[in-house]
């Protein structure tokens, strides 16, 4: 029961945090199901569910369910107290998000009186109880239910994005005219989301029951088919996705490109570079200086400038790499961060203004031309970026499986041992920096041409953090992980307007939570998983005092 109290209080605290930071109110306008259920409600309910689940997982008997209900109830109580507080005392001079509308949202529009309290307590207890009940389901069933709920929420959220893609009758069936998902729509989405994984499970079971029947050739055929579908999807994407989605996917693509570049440095060679934005900036500014007539130094075309820009970043990658060759771990991180900031400060300064445009930046950057045809729409840039990503992906795969890739990974595991085994640390690290920089530079050059201007503000530390965060989310060292990370951390926030404000808040949580609960990432690389497991084992055997302390905490 004590555990239930603790989790309930933590949940209540989290609810206060979400509300006072303004997240809850920001999402009050997002209708998910019909007119009534908004994303704010879903967030609050999800919080209660999580708290209940966590309690239920610790205590696996009937008291656990009771505890889960109690914890949910506590969250409800915390919400009511906050609502009452905001309604009676004007907190706005301190907490900017404590607006008069907040109490209504928190109490599901039932007011801060006895009715609101009763509703919140009941809902909290019920949802907490359900969360505790989730632990009684078998793992696969639980995952299916949770995934289905998440998909339904996602579909509800992405209404505006989906509407140009699906024909009107489908949209009319799924959604209510002004709100979120309609009731039949919700049922359909949930049913589909539940049915597909179950069907796959059943098929997989049948396949494994007479394994011999699925020959190697059939597997190969299936893989080829999957690839063809993937290529067709990617190639036709801008044709049916519309301007907005193409624009978003352009940015996702640029981040994938950067992610692949940093992945070589951080994922393969294990060098944490927190100043990766420097290469992005150098690529973008090289493109700007070389092509923009504004500065009057050069007026090259896009295609002449592109290789020069990439070459510039390679050189700068080597220049930045040289002095930091002997540094490791956190020192390297801080030094590279310093380099990134130096680049930004130099660009921003009046000193270099005649050459780099200063705080106003540079505009009128060249567009790529193909004969008479000028690429200037996001849909057309999409293909350019896609080719860039494909190239970077191919390079990454080939490098990973090559001698130099092995050398990088050896350095990542243990630099001293790698050197003792005859790996040339200098060349290996410099190559990692140079190739990683080239990809960042390519991304920057494409970015400059896409948005047609560069301003120093686009090259802040946040870009570096973005890239590191997406690598961490997807799984450090994993190539598909880069794509997953970029879609989740760059794509989703672009699609959810209200989310922009809280993007970095969520990044912070993602970084911490991933490292604690799933350090290998969402789509991990296999060796990385093994390595982390080994490290955990090692940590256990190495520090008995700490383990004792941890178990004491747990008891």
């Amino acid at each position: 029961m004590r555990r239930a109290l603790v989790f309930g209080l933590i949940g209540g605290f989290a609810a206060w945090h979400l509300s006072l930071v303004g997240l809850i109110e920001a999402f009050a306008g997002r209708r998910l199901i019909g007119q009534g259920v908004t994303f704010s409600y879903v967030l609050l309910l999800a919080l209660m569910l999580t708290v209940g689940y966590l309690v239920g997982r610790r205590i696996s008997n009937w008291t656990g369910l009771l505890g889960a209900a109690l914890a949910g109830l506590l969250v409800g109580l915390a919400l009511w107290v906050l609502a009452l507080l905001v309604a009676t005392v004007d907190l706005r001079t301190v907490f900017v998000a404590a607006s008069p509308a907040l109490p209504d949202i928190l109490t599901f529009n039932r007011g801060t009186g006895a009715v609101g309290l009763a509703v919140l307590l009941l809902v909290g207890a019920a949802v907490g109880f359900l969360g505790g009940g989730l632990t009684w389901l078998p793992a696969t069933g639980r995952r299916a239910v949770l995934t289905a709920l998440a998909i339904a929420v996602l579909v509800g959220l992405l209404r505006d994005v989906l509407s140009p893609i699906f024909p009107a009758p489908v949209m009319g069936f799924l959604f209510t005219p002004t709100g979120g998902l309609s009731l039949p729509g919700t049922a359909t989405v949930l049913a589909l989301a539940l049915a597909v994984p179950i069907a796959r499970q059943v098929l997989a079971n049948r396949a494994s029951s007479h394994r011999g029947s699925l020959s190697v050739r059939a597997l190969q055929r299936r893989r080829v088919a999957a690839r063809v579908i993937g290529v067709v999807f990617l190639a036709s994407f801008p044709l049916w996705a519309g301007l907005f989605l193409s624009n978003v996917s352009d940015f996702v693509g640029l981040y994938i490109l950067m992610g692949l570049g940093l992945n070589l440095v951080l994922g393969f060679a294990g060098l944490l570079d927190l100043g990766y934005v420097a290469f992005f900036a150098i690529g973008a500014y090289s493109m700007a200086v070389l092509t923009s007539p504004e500065l009057g130094h050069f007026t090259l075309g896009f295609w002449e400038a592109l290789p020069i820009a990439v070459a510039m970043t390679v050189v700068s990658g080597i220049l930045i790499g040289l002095p930091v060759l002997r540094m490791r771990g956190d020192y390297l991180a801080i030094t590279t961060l310093g380099f990134g900031e130096i680049v930004r400060l130099l660009v921003l300064s009046d000193w270099l203004k005649p050459h780099l445009g200063g705080a106003q930046g540079v505009t009128r950057i060249a567009r790529p031309e193909l004969g008479p045809f000028v690429i200037d729409r996001p849909q057309e840039y999409y293909y350019l970026i896609l080719i860039g990503c494909g190239l970077a992906w191919f390079l990454s795969v080939r490098l990973r499986d090559s001698r130099i890739g092995r050398a990088w990974m050896a350095i990542r595991e243990d630099e001293d041992v790698a050197q003792a085994m005859g790996i040339n640390r200098v060349t290996a690290k410099l190559l990692a920096f140079a190739t990683g920089a080239a990809m960042g530079g390519l991304s920057g050059a494409l970015f400059a041409s896409l948005v047609n201007s560069v301003i120093p503000q686009s090259f802040s530390l946040l870009v570096s953090i973005n890239v590191v965060a997406l690598l961490v989310l997807g799984g450090i060292g994993s190539l598909p992980g880069v794509v997953v990370g970029a879609l989740a951390l760059v794509g989703l926030p672009e699609l959810l307007r209200e989310f922009q404000e809280y993007r970095l808040l969520v990044y912070g949580v993602v970084l911490v939570a991933m490292m604690i609960f799933r350090p290998a990432g969402l789509w991990p690389e296999e060796t990385r998983v093994r390595e982390l497991e080994e490290a955990a084992e090692e940590g256990k055997t190495r520090a008995p005092a700490e383990v004792a302390a941890v178990t004491q905490d747990g008891a």
């Binding site: 945090h17 907490f95 930091v324 956190d330 300064s349 970095l504 520090a543």
Partner: protein, 356 residues
């Protein structure tokens, strides 16, 4: 290339020289020459009066005192856990930002005018308390579960925690700049020096003194030092390691909170992003003095504050760079990079060997 290296090795009496060292030293020599030439030209041109130089130095010392206080938090945590608490700048920010509301309330009721000393002490205590709490929670959530993990892992959570704190404060209190109320007692000058700068510098020194006494004379201080010396041995001697680490974060956090109020007194404004630059610079100070070394951090802070305040006018102006103060932060970063390359052990640091 190889033969050239061999020839070099002969020249240096058989000591191996690798290419990176040669390049690093070239860069270092270049920077040194630039600094000397710039300083010389500025001094010859006589652009600034002695009074102006004096102002730069006083301001640099006050700023350096603040850096020193924050740097101690970095260096203590590093000494105990061998990790860089990247979110320490945000701990500093949270103290300064929270104390703003107390300061505002006090100013409105006229306390800041009628009882300035008590108000100031209350501000310092409040900021120290908030920062301390946040630092301890930070350690508990973001670092303790990962203590055995590879080195990169706590660094990434630190970056995450740093952003979480920043944007929590932004969400809670808004993204605008809040103007700190002025303390009437601290306005004006003595002997041509602004009183608030003197108070800030002395306040920083006093806090450093308190920290020294705490670490030297209390049992908790002893535990912290024991854990910093050797965690396992300390555990075997009956020191509660987790408690010692928590108190390290608590003490470091409190110092950062104090530094936050002092910073706000000098710059008179707070904002959610204000922790980033002082954080990095304090880290630079810690490295400059030798990370893990307490007097080193204090010294490093003062040195960095001075260089940053005097530097742009002294050697950047002389090189003919317009608006040199814009590059003030770039100087700090350059110093950081140069130290890490040439003397990673810092001014007072011991040899860290392969840890760097």
């Amino acid at each position: 290339m190889a033969s050239a290296a061999r020839r070099l090795a002969v020249l240096t009496g058989g000591r191996r020289i690798d290419l990176t060292m040669v390049i690093a030293w070239t860069i270092g020599a270049l920077v040194l020459v630039l600094v000397l030439v710039g300083s010389y030209q500025t001094l010859v041109a006589g652009r600034y009066t002695a009074g102006q130089w004096f102002d730069f130095i006083v301001f640099g010392l006050a700023q350096g005192g603040i850096y020193a206080l924050i740097a101690l938090g970095y260096t203590m945590v590093y000494g105990v856990l061998r990790m860089i608490n990247f979110a320490h700048g945000e701990v500093f920010m949270s103290g300064a930002f929270s104390a703003f509301f107390l300061a505002d309330a006090l100013a409105r009721r006229g306390f800041l005018e009628s009882r300035p000393i008590i108000s100031l002490l209350a501000l310092l205590a409040f900021a120290a308390l908030v920062s301390m709490t946040i630092a301890v929670i930070l350690e508990r959530i973001a670092y303790r579960p990962l203590r055995g993990a590879p080195r990169l892992v706590p660094l990434i959570t630190a970056v995450g925690a740093s952003f979480f704190l920043q944007y929590t404060f932004r969400g809670l209190f808004g993204s605008g700049v809040r103007v700190y109320p002025t303390v009437p007692l601290l306005e004006g000058t003595i002997l041509g020096i602004q009183i608030k700068l003197i108070v800030v510098f002395l306040g920083a020194l006093a806090t450093l003194g308190i920290l020294w006494a705490f670490l030297t004379f209390t049992r908790t201080g002893l535990a912290i030092r024991a854990v910093a010396e050797d965690m396992e041995a300390a555990a075997l001697m009956g020191v509660d390691v987790n408690r010692a680490i928590s108190s390290t974060f608590a003490v470091g956090g409190a110092m950062a909170g104090v530094a936050g109020v002092l910073y706000a007194l000098v710059f008179a404004q707070v904002q959610f992003f204000m922790g980033f630059l002082p954080g990095i610079k304090a880290f630079t100070s810690a490295v400059l003095g030798g990370i893990g070394n307490l007097p080193g951090a204090a010294l490093g802070g003062l040195v960095l504050g001075l260089v940053e305040s005097v530097g742009p006018s002294l050697f950047l102006d002389g090189l003919g760079i317009p608006a040199a103060h814009q590059l003030k932060d770039a100087i700090a970063f350059t110093i950081l990079v140069l130290i890490l390359i040439f003397r990673p052990t810092g001014i007072l640091g011991e040899r860290l060997g392969s840890r760097v």
